[in-house]
């Protein structure tokens, strides 16, 4: 297999496998969770479930001040890397073209040098988070191998994308192919690791909040 065949393979059959596993996994896991259902609520409502749901959606997304003060770097790095990831994935023109091809609609992107800068910041933030995880005794104790794996498969697409943009490996199709492959690896494992939170976090937060709201708890 020469490097062009490799590139055609990752753009063709490999992508097809990756998107099949990704969509299969997401639909399987979402349905599994939704079908668990909720146990009937016998108690009389003491507050609004809807308001509770919204409130928790908001409060769990913002950091609590006391917690922030205890580990500001950790929380800032967390925000930065999530935001950076969104910008890089959704606002780089070649990425938008992929979404356009798959979804049928598109939006405008940012100039590549800006995305490049964001990618560097995001990589740094991810790196800080990894070091924090290894250095902090409690966090290290709580970390499983899946946590490191999830970190790695998130980190690699960013790294290879950065390397591709800067032509750091020659011939260029090799690094471009590796970048696409790293995204495909991410897609395959996404539904079956904690990365799935991207799809469940809204409903999980809503569920907790609505429960608390119904009981009149100020959570």
């Amino acid at each position: 297999m020469n490097y062009i065949e490799f590139l055609l393979w990752v753009r063709g059959p490999a992508f097809q496998i990756a998107i099949a596993v990704f969509v299969f996994g997401i639909s399987l896991r979402l349905l599994e969770i939704l079908l668990l259902g909720r146990s009937p609520e016998y108690a009389a409502p003491r507050g609004s479930a809807v308001r509770g749901g919204f409130r928790t959606l908001l409060t769990r997304t913002m950091s609590e001040e006391s917690i922030f003060r205890r580990a500001p770097l950790l929380i800032i790095a967390g925000y930065v890397f999530h935001l950076g990831l969104f910008i890089v994935i959704l606002l780089l023109v070649p990425h938008i073209l992929v979404f356009k091809d798959l979804l049928g609609f598109s939006w405008s992107g940012l100039p590549t040098p800006i995305i490049d800068a964001v990618a560097v910041i995001t990589l740094l933030a991810l790196f800080i988070l990894l070091i924090y995880r290894i250095k902090h005794p409690v966090l290290r104790f709580l970390s499983t191998s899946q946590d490191y794996f999830a970190w790695l498969i998130t980190f690699l697409p960013l790294l290879t994308g950065y390397m591709a943009y800067h032509h750091m490996i020659n011939p260029y199709p090799v690094i471009l192919g590796l970048h696409i492959l790293s995204v495909e690896i991410l897609m395959v494992f996404f539904p079956f690791t904690k990365l799935m939170h991207a799809f469940t976090l809204v409903m999980a937060r809503w569920y907790n909040g609505a429960n608390a709201g119904h009981k009149g708890v100020q959570a």
């Binding site: 055609l8 097809q16 639909s27 599994e32 079908l35 091809d101 798959l102 011939p171």
Partner: protein
């Protein structure tokens, strides 16, 4: 040695002066990107080197490669090639036909055994030898027979280099490249659809002056011409970097000369010299005329998902169907697993034994 006159002699025979001969040598040095100090050495080499005997074999091809070479406006650098070689057989260009043509080939093969250059354009069908024959000889047989006595092989054009258009899925003739059949001779690929004539001339000039093929990359292409991508040298690159893209071929962006990435330009993954050597005597190259690069000097460019599909986009046309099936399959398995969970729960409820105070008291004793 050879019955051929030296290159110097043959140029003099054409009435070319010493001064023009040195100009010719300067031209050779320039296409090989050699320093001016090398010119006397080249002159010395060409003065004493006989014109290189060359046999040109055309297999499954469209003659575009030969056209590319012969349409080069004389006198140009590209035209050099015809002064450097003695084209002993080329069934499109030679006057002789039939038996006379084939005996010219045989004579060249015998007279220059071990020394001649074989230039091939077109791919070789292995599906059925009858798909393409010359004088009743199948392409694969002729290739093997002629290459057996060759010094080196030049695969000209994407068909000879990688199989080309005939190799496109589903490859009905079983077309293959030259280097998949020939493994025991030095081979150089000069891909392109068509290849840049100057590059062909440059490779032959190198072979004649130095007696060997130039340095090659991993796809057996001469490094000096295929060392950079079209994108590396594209004059629209600043627009790419700024994120300014033409959306259609006639919008305002296209008129401003913005980057053609969104319109399917394959320049970023295409190694070729178009952006620097240009075409038609240096007039322009495709991107300069407003069309993206097709990637014609890379293997399988015809099966890369369409010329107007952006490079980053997945190739496969059945992705939508795949996604639909995957969604349905996921939902089905999810529903099954949900039903199973419910079953487990209701069974657990059924098997639930109520523990009374008396039970607990009994246990404590």
């Amino acid at each position: 040695m050879s019955k051929y006159p030296t290159i110097g002699e043959s140029l003099r025979h054409q009435g070319i002066s010493r001064r023009d001969f040195l100009k010719f040598c300067t031209a050779v040095a320039s296409i090989l990107a050699l320093p001016a100090a090398m010119i006397p050495k080249i002159a010395e080499a060409l003065e004493s080197t006989p014109r290189q005997s060359a046999i040109w074999l055309s297999f499954q091809e469209c003659t575009g490669c030969t056209e590319s070479l012969t349409r080069s406006h004389a006198p140009t650098l590209e035209g050099l090639i015809f002064d450097l070689i003695s084209l002993d057989y080329h069934h499109t260009l030679q006057a002789a036909a039939g038996t006379a043509a084939e005996s010219a080939r045989e004579a060249a093969m015998q007279g220059n055994k071990g020394n001649y250059l074989v230039i091939v354009d077109g791919s070789i069908p292995l599906g059925n030898p009858g798909y393409s024959t010359i004088a009743g000889i199948s392409n694969v047989d002729m290739l093997k027979e002629v290459v057996a006595g060759a010094k080196a092989v030049v695969a000209v054009g994407t068909c000879a280099a990688y199989g080309g258009i005939p190799h496109a899925a589903p490859n009905p003739t079983g077309a293959v490249s030259v280097d998949s059949l020939i493994t025991d001779k030095p081979i150089i690929n000069i891909p392109g659809c068509p290849p840049i004539p100057l590059v062909i001339a440059g490779v032959v000039a190198h072979f004649v002056t130095f007696g060997q093929l130039p340095n090659l990359d991993s796809l057996k292409r001469p490094h000096s011409f295929f060392g950079q991508t079209i994108h590396d040298r594209c004059y629209r690159r600043p627009f790419y970097d700024k994120g300014l893209f033409a959306e259609t071929f006639d919008d305002e962006g296209a008129k401003q000369g913005w980057c053609l990435y969104k319109l399917g330009c394959k320049g970023p993954v295409t190694y070729n010299a178009c952006a620097t050597t240009k075409w038609n005597d240096g007039v322009s190259f495709p991107i300069e005329s407003g069309h993206g690069c097709l990637g014609c000097s890379e293997p399988n460019f015809w099966d890369a998902g369409g010329f107007y599909k952006p490079l980053s986009v997945p190739i496969n046309g059945v992705i939508k169907a795949t996604t639909g099936y995957a969604l349905a399959a996921g939902a089905a398995v999810g529903a099954a697993s949900g039903a199973l969970n419910r079953l487990k729960r209701s069974q657990a409820r059924q098997n639930h034994e109520t523990v009374t105070i008396t039970d607990l008291e009994r246990n404590q004793k």
